[in-house]
């Protein structure tokens, strides 16, 4: 790791802590709501992934924004971690540049897709509830 990477490593650690909190919340809602009796975010009952529950959460701005923060933190943490693992294997300089560019492109593309989906799902859910 070069000195230039130090701020990126710090952001990697900060992103990890953000993920710990937000993904912990996500897992609590999606996979531990039964054992923890934490089903307030799935008021329609049944599965947390049933459309009624998904739409309920999509309408809440907290979930829209926290989803986008989690998306950005997860993509940065994961793709930067992958880059470090690949660079440890000692690829030549040209390949290192290609890997960096490819991972950056992948991260930006998926961030754009996820952000679009979060806002559009909110719009769809709000429109359906106002009918």
């Amino acid at each position: 790791m070069s000195m230039r990477d130090t701020p990126l490593w710090t952001w990697h650690v900060i992103a990890g802590l953000i993920i710990l909190v937000l993904l912990g919340l996500h897992m609590g809602i999606m996979h531990l709501s039964g054992v923890l009796h934490f089903d307030a975010m799935s008021p329609a009952g049944d599965s947390p992934v049933d459309w009624a529950n998904v739409a309920y959460r999509a309408k809440m701005i907290f979930f829209t924004l926290s989803y986008i923060v989690l998306l950005g933190a997860g993509l940065f943490h994961g793709l930067y971690g992958l880059k470090n693992i690949l660079f440890e294997l000692g690829p030549p300089a040209g390949l290192r540049s290609a890997i960096s560019a490819l991972l950056l492109l992948l991260g930006v593309g998926l961030f754009a897709l996820g952000t679009w989906a979060a806002f559009t799902a909110r719009t769809v859910a709000l429109a359906a509830s106002s009918m």
């Binding site: 710990l20 996979h31 531990l32 039964g34 998904v54 994961g78 971690g81 992958l82 440890e88 769809v124």
Partner: protein, 146 residues
């Protein structure tokens, strides 16, 4: 900016699996990387699949029906297990990195004190916490109807 001198990584990925004289933390390092790569693979697919909610109820329900087969449930639980390990081990790594679990540097006066005296019990606590979350998740995944 001066370029860092790089040494050849002779062992490559093989080096992940041989702990040598290092302790159990060396194997946690390997597991941390493996679970990280698994979680990243799942996460990239998860972004694409869950983006279907933007297309409305029908599209979402169809997507969930596709990934609702029992084999996906087992796979999803493995992702949950990887998450629990990666999260608690990651918290340990952050605290070690920040120096919280390594203590202050001291003169090597007998009886010697090691940072392992603090770090290793915390590692055990974190692994127990991860195991508890894995068990709770397993109960919810396989024994509670959704």
């Amino acid at each position: 900016m001066p370029e860092v001198k790089r040494y050849p990584n002779r062992l490559g990925i093989k080096g992940w699996f041989g702990g040598g004289r290092w302790g159990v933390e060396r194997y946690l390092y390997t597991l941390h990387r493996l679970t990280g790569l698994g979680l990243l693979t799942y996460f990239l697919m998860h972004i694409v699949v869950t983006s279907r909610r933007a297309l409305g109820a029908e599209s979402w329900t169809a997507a969930m029906a596709t990934v609702g087969a029992p084999i996906f449930k087992v796979g999803e639980y493995l992702v949950f297990v990887a998450f629990a390990f990666h999260a608690f081990n990651g918290l340990r790594l952050v605290l070690v990195e920040l120096g919280v679990l390594t203590g202050r540097p001291e003169e090597p006066v007998y009886p010697y004190e090691s940072s392992l005296d603090v770090q290793r019990p915390f590692m055990v606590v974190m692994m127990i916490a991860a195991a508890v979350v894995m068990l709770l998740g397993g109960y919810e995944f396989f024994f509670m109807a959704h």
